[in-house]
Subunit: 232 residues, 2 copies
């Protein structure tokens, strides 16, 4: 065991790491909301700000990975703390990918022709429900991470299957639009890529929930039906 | 410093970890090739075997993450070795995602109607070049990892930009098919999702190359133009 001062410093290191990860979570959550808003109203400046924000998120990924490695080197954490640090490394990867997906949505919003196909179908409407659900899911995943709330994490994992179903329904609808009126193809494909990016963000939110369970329970539940059997 | 026996055991641990990661790499490389082949010839049994193999890849992800954590706990690696272990954790994540993308391709191959749109365009031909390039890129990334060949890794990172360009060209072609003849929409969308999965595998191969550079050079070059400035 280290002395009291050193141990207090260790706690501070862990707490700093934790708060920076939550900061990164807040940044990508904003990126996602702004990306969807920029697509909805065709706001190219907002879309540009999402893409610009990604540089900060990328830098946080590099800095936080570095901080995790230094913490392990300096503190040689015991099993429980090491589990938390290793899960944090995984969370960081998922957060960075969420930022990437939000940027993809923003890039499509930038290229969006607001007149194109507008009379035939509302491309935002086609992905609205999915975006709202995944927005909530991401928020709850970050909340579960902040409070280390295992129950909430378990619920989220079960929710990902619903998102996947809804994504497939959105996809079928968009294909119907395209087939019925080929003039919608370009706009429908934009909506399709956005739906895909949203669905991927749902996957990453699920991954974060799995990391929370790993931190709290010490169980690696990836690729298992743990969530299905642990829902009250 | 630990004694000679202990140190030899440590080397064995590192070597075992390393060979298992390369084994995992070989598995996902096979998954990718088989997935593309199953789509090419409409072989649903081969597609099913790709999806089945993913369970083994997923289990390796869990086992190897666990092995990395235990190695850190037991050996408290010095800076260089810790860098290798942390990069290995990242490589494992990328390999698992490559397995996922190969499985997505296999699932599309399973649902493929070999008659559909066959007269109009060859959906395999549309993605053939991309699949071949990314297959080579994945092979070279795993080879660079096996030999810790930094030069090869740098070349691969530069190659990813070409893959992204080629992906966009494939996408534009497929959209043209769809617009010219709406009967191709369904088959063209299948080809589009497969092209997207292939492009993602290229991204993961690039990530692996970046991890190799991190292991060898100790530089985290993600989100930088390191590769562009280090090509001979």
């Amino acid at each position: 065991m280290t002395g009291e001062h050193s141990s207090r410093q260790y706690d501070t290191d862990l707490e700093t790491l934790r708060s920076k990860v939550l900061l990164m979570g807040g940044l990508v959550e904003n990126q996602f909301h702004d990306a969807i808003a920029s697509f909805r109203v065709g706001n190219v400046e907002l879309a540009a700000s999402v893409i610009k924000a990604d540089a900060g998120v990328n830098q946080l990924e590099v800095d936080l990975d570095d901080a995790c490695r230094h913490l392990i080197l300096k503190r040689q954490p015991a099993a429980n703390d090491l589990r938390t640090v290793m899960a944090t490394v995984k969370v960081i990867t998922d957060l960075e990918r969420i930022g990437d997906e939000a940027s993809k949505i923003a890039r499509i919003a930038q290229g969006k022709d607001t007149q194109r196909g507008a009379l035939i179908f509302n491309d935002y409407e086609a992905v609205r429900g999915l975006a709202s659900q995944v927005g909530n899911m991401l928020h709850d995943a970050l909340d579960a991470l902040a409070r280390l709330d295992e129950k909430q994490a378990v619920k989220l994992i079960a929710k990902d299957a619903i998102i996947d179903q809804d994504f497939r329904a959105v996809m079928r609808n968009l294909i119907t639009y395209m087939m019925e009126d080929p003039r919608t193809i370009s706009a429908a494909l934009d909506a399709l890529w956005i739906a895909k990016a949203i669905e991927r963000i749902g996957d990453h939110a699920k991954n974060i929930a799995e990391h929370v369970i790993f931190i709290v329970e010490g169980k690696d539940i990836r690729h298992t039906d743990y969530a299905a059997t642990h829902l009250a």
